[in-house]
């Protein structure tokens, strides 16, 4: 009897402690930013967090949202499926009202299920694998394009602009790289007189890809398209030139980073990169770059502007919904109409994909990515 009374008292105490924590309507509004902060893609993660922090701080300077300050909460997903799910749970437990971020598709897709179960909006800034929005989750959006948009674009560029007939495609078996490689291959198969002579994967984390590249060399392709990430991309580029493989080298948007050029050295000149435009090549991003450079004393990374806009559309949704409620934010995000961000106008389609995405091809000259064609 006495025990039951004590337990009852404890329960009352616990509930009274937990309730205000769960439904807090005061304090800061938290926005989650899951990114890789360790491993090969850590630099991208840092770029993304800096852009998110800047977006939140700028809004706070204007008085915040609904009279409350914004706070960016960030956890390391290490571009790893398991760590990403852990990070997603941590973000949900921390009480974020929405999530804006992510880098690798292989981390974003498993995490999106956690956000879906918890009813939290997830605006992806960099994950481009089609599966992310094809799952049918009503809470998932993205401000970047899809790989099945980039693939056909790349296929078009190599056949029309580079007049390629024989094409080799190398991916690294990660979700993003394989998706982009398959999308490119599918587009090429529909074209007359074009042949995909090589389609294989290298192992991320290794350093020597000369065996695969020697095989590519023996097939004499006009264009070799690498769809993995830049840590391996720089090595592929160097070994491609060292082995004297014929034809041109092209790489997907995850290679759009100065480290690619540093690793590959002088041999990187003349390499093509398909990508969404870098901030400096977009008229709408001029003001963003000036503020970013002043704040962080470094140039924005390739995904900084996209992340800035991801946080931007979430803030915009809260303002239109006049609420920081998770469900209300999702509803308002669907109604996003021509939000004008640093990367241009943002409107989402039925699936949560961005309408009208622009791709561009860069060519490396010296130590710079120079735009060469749309």
């Amino acid at each position: 009897m006495r025990n039951r009374f004590v337990i009852g008292l404890l329960l009352v105490f616990l509930v009274s402690v937990m309730v205000p924590g769960a439904g807090a309507q005061t304090g800061t509004i938290k926005i989650g930013v899951p990114v890789p902060l360790s491993g090969g893609n850590a630099k991208m993660g840092t770029d993304i967090v800096q852009a998110a922090t800047m977006a939140a701080d700028e809004q706070n300077a204007k008085g915040g949202v609904l009279g409350r300050k914004l706070e960016i909460v960030s956890f390391d997903d290490a571009c790893d499926a398991q760590q990403a799910v852990t990070a997603a749970h941590k973000l949900v437990d921390a009480g974020v009202v929405a999530v804006a971020g992510g880098y690798c598709s292989s981390a974003a897709i498993p995490a999106s299920a956690v956000y879906h179960d918890s009813g939290v909006a997830f605006v992806a800034d960099a994950s481009s694998n089609p599966k992310l929005t094809d799952q049918g989750f009503e809470n998932v959006f993205r401000v970047i394009g899809r790989d099945d948009q980039q693939g056909p674009y790349a296929a078009n560029f190599m056949t029309k602009n580079l007049h390629a007939k024989k094409i080799a495609i190398i991916h690294d078996n990660t979700l993003y790289a394989k998706g982009l490689a398959t999308a490119t291959q599918d587009a090429l198969k529909k074209m007359m007189g074009v042949q995909v002579v090589f389609f294989d994967a290298i192992t991320p984390g290794e350093k020597d890809f000369s065996a695969a590249l020697t095989k590519v060399k023996s097939l004499k392709p006009d264009v070799t398209y690498f769809t993995g990430y830049y840590p391996e991309g720089g090595l592929v580029c160097k070994q491609f030139k060292d082995l004297g493989v014929s034809g041109k080298l092209m790489a997907g948007d995850a290679n759009n980073d100065p480290t690619f050029i540093k690793e590959c050295g002088a041999a990187s000149t003349g390499v093509y990169i398909t990508s969404t435009p870098l901030p400096q090549d977009q008229a709408t991003a001029k003001a963003f770059i000036t503020r970013y450079t002043a704040r962080w004393k470094q140039d924005p990374g390739p995904y900084s502007a996209l992340e800035y806009d991801s946080v931007g559309v979430v803030i915009n949704a809260m303002q239109r919904a006049k609420s920081a409620d998770r469900a209300a934010i999702i509803k308002a995000l669907h109604q996003t109409n021509a939000y004008s961000g640093a990367t241009g106008k943002i409107t989402f389609d039925q699936k949560g994909d961005r309408k009208q995405v622009l791709y561009i091809t860069y060519i490396i000259k010296g130590d710079k990515f120079v735009p060469t064609g749309m």
């Binding site: 090969g40 192992t203 000369s210 840590p231 082995l243 480290t259 540093k262 690793e263």
Partner: protein
């Protein structure tokens, strides 16, 4: 034919790195039957120390590529060797008679080194200076650089030097005695801890040599670089017969060539499956590895 030769060169280059690291695994195992899981990370530390040395020399305006490389190699090998000894003193020596605990201690040491590098240096990739170009001996249309020649030759020379040392010098004799029976060796007046420490020094210095050359050849290093290659080098050591010095080098080259042929003639995606499949077959046929001997005749 040209392609086959090129694949052979590719395989020998990768294999030489496996061999240099496998030597450290095999020596430590030969003496104290410990699989030193931290060995791959010692290799990573060597690469980072080498990079620091290049940075330091650049600050002091030492420009000569050969001089800076020699200094980077010497300093990095020395410091990494001492780190190996320290590792033995701190993490292994107190646990020499606890078989299982010492393995866990090795895994702990591995993680400590990896994440120590992350905290001290950087979580992302670092890039070595591009010092040596692609010039190399012209050879039947095959692309070889002098750096590749150096990597290959040094792995053979170092193996031979190590083998001679173990079989022709007094210290070597002490090492072999230790491998057979530690207590008997101690009774014969051998300073057991000093000899084991020396073994760690040599193994770690070799790994660091491989680390600096990795930086120069592939130009990219990261705190996790030792994990995968450590696993492969350990495999190479087992393939050659763990505890056997020529075996480690043979195993390294063989694994490198198998991987390269599998990637070149089948599929790069399947190369590990093919290479390790062959490895299982070899081990089933010869459980002690290719050159593995009876336990008493290790090293």
């Amino acid at each position: 034919m040209e392609i086959a030769l090129q694949q052979l060169v590719n395989g020998l280059t990768v294999g030489a790195f496996y061999a240099l690291i496998a030597l450290g695994y095999t020596m430590v195992y030969g003496i104290i039957r410990l699989i030193n899981f931290a060995h791959g990370d010692i290799y990573a530390v060597g690469a980072f120390l080498g990079l620091s040395m290049y940075g330091l020399l650049a600050l002091l305006h030492v420009q000569n590529a050969i001089l800076t490389t020699l200094l980077a190699l010497i300093v990095s090998m020395g410091c990494t060797g001492l780190l190996g000894m320290l590792l033995f003193r701190v993490a292994y020596r107190p646990l020499l008679h606890a078989r299982l605990s010492i393995l866990i201690s090795a895994i702990g040491a591995s993680l400590t080194l990896e994440y120590g590098l992350l905290l001290i240096y950087s979580p992302s990739f670092l890039v070595y200076p591009h010092l040596f170009g692609r010039d190399g001996p012209a050879f039947a249309g095959v692309s070889i650089s002098w750096l590749q020649v150096l990597i290959f030759v040094s792995s053979i020379v170092l193996m031979a030097a190590l083998y001679t040392m173990v079989h022709r010098t007094k210290t070597g004799m002490a090492m072999r005695a230790l491998a057979i029976n530690q207590d008997a060796a101690r009774l014969m007046g051998i300073n057991v801890n000093r000899v084991i420490g020396l073994t760690f020094f040599m193994g770690s210095a070799l790994a660091s040599f491989a680390g600096v050359l990795t930086g120069l050849y592939y130009s990219q290093i990261s705190f996790l670089m030792g994990f995968l290659i450590g696993l492969k080098a350990f495999t190479a050591a087992v393939l050659g017969g763990i505890g056997n010095i020529p075996g480690a080098v043979l195993g390294g080259f063989l694994l490198g060539i198998m991987e390269s042929l599998a990637a070149g003639y089948y599929s790069s995606r399947w190369k590990d499956v093919v290479a390790f499949g062959i490895l299982i077959v070899i081990l089933v046929v010869r459980p002690r590895g290719l050159l593995g001997e009876r336990v008493v005749e290790r090293m």
